[in-house]
Symmetry: C2
Subunit: 208 residues, 2 copies
């Protein structure tokens, strides 16, 4: 039954969506590679003013892509982030890792006196060197990553630090942006798994 | 290494987050059960003005909860939605179903001339009666659901219709709100898997 008139061609929906975003969002001032990522992040949240809160280090997209092209894993703080990454866009069938539900995580959280989401990052240590980190949920995970790296843990190639929320989210992203890591953040309270997934998917492939 | 001062107690982070939301968001005008859901949805997107775009049928939360208490499945349009639902909050170990990656879906999409996400709903038919539907990604899925029900498919107990985006999202949610189904929507372009998951998780359990 055809009750409604609406676009049913997936490719055409994407095309029209991205055209609308490019017409409405102010992408001047963004490097071309960051603008491509921004378009997909805007697509994931429906808000063209997201671009006002974006901050990045100049090499972040290039470094993250190069890491993926070399087979680096994507390390995710939340199962939803891992779930959303489109596997066929990844250039090297890269591993997508989330250690939140690892059986060792609850005990680590108790030992370290922190959240499970933060403690789960301890299990990244042997994969962190040159990895792409995608944090889309927990400010405590982002803070913990910065503390690990400051204390001598291996350095990721790039950190997409896009946790969401009211307690610590803005501060954790400011801390990442003030670090010497390559980063992409959404300043303030906005963020979340959908935006973070969109950033990874945009970086992973040139296909629009 | 303690470089930053931040709250590390997960329960305390939740408590402070929800307190901030209740202090800042204008929840007057919302029934108590919808307000509880709204708080979690705001938590998932970091934006207290989300409440301005919320619309609902009066019985939606109560009907959805009753359905879950009776063991109804949660039918999701996207894998990220299914992935985010907290299984231990579900009262009856309810099935969480996403048929997008079912091997039959691509052929159905070709036959019906629609997106895979919409076509996937055809595989819900034998579970739709009294189910809780959670659409957090595709406007075409929400339109297709309304067409299926109008054409005589079994009626779900409640529809959380929260797709995101620029092409058809607002229109699909307006169409749901104009239907005779019990519904919860976010008017306009905003929406997405994180908000949709938050709504399901809020309805599923009284635990804050």
């Amino acid at each position: 039954m055809e009750l409604y008139e609406y676009e049913k061609d997936g490719a055409e929906i994407y095309r029209q969506s991205f055209a609308t975003i490019r017409a409405e969002a102010d992408l001047t001032g963004l490097p071309a590679d960051v603008a491509r990522v921004a378009v997909r992040m805007i697509h994931a949240c429906g808000q063209v003013d997201l671009v006002e809160d974006l901050a990045w280090s100049p090499a972040v997209v290039q470094r993250a892509r190069k890491a993926l092209d070399a087979g680096a894993p994507v390390l995710c703080d939340a199962q939803m982030v891992a779930s959303g990454i489109t596997r066929r866009r990844l250039p090297k069938d890269n591993d997508v890792v989330c250690t939140l539900n690892d059986p060792r995580t609850p005990a680590l959280a108790a030992d370290l006196g922190t959240t499970r989401t933060a403690a789960a990052l301890e299990l990244w240590r042997d994969r962190l060197d040159g990895a792409v980190v995608a944090i889309g949920n927990a400010p405590t995970a982002l803070f913990h990553l910065l503390e690990m790296v400051a204390a001598g843990a291996p350095r990721p190639a790039a950190v997409l630090g896009i946790p969401v929320g009211f307690i610590g989210a803005a501060e954790s992203k400011d801390a990442l942006a003030a670090s010497d890591l390559d980063f992409l953040v959404v300043r303030g309270r906005r963020g979340g798994s959908a935006m973070t997934v969109a950033a990874v998917n945009a970086i992973a492939s040139d296909v629009e």
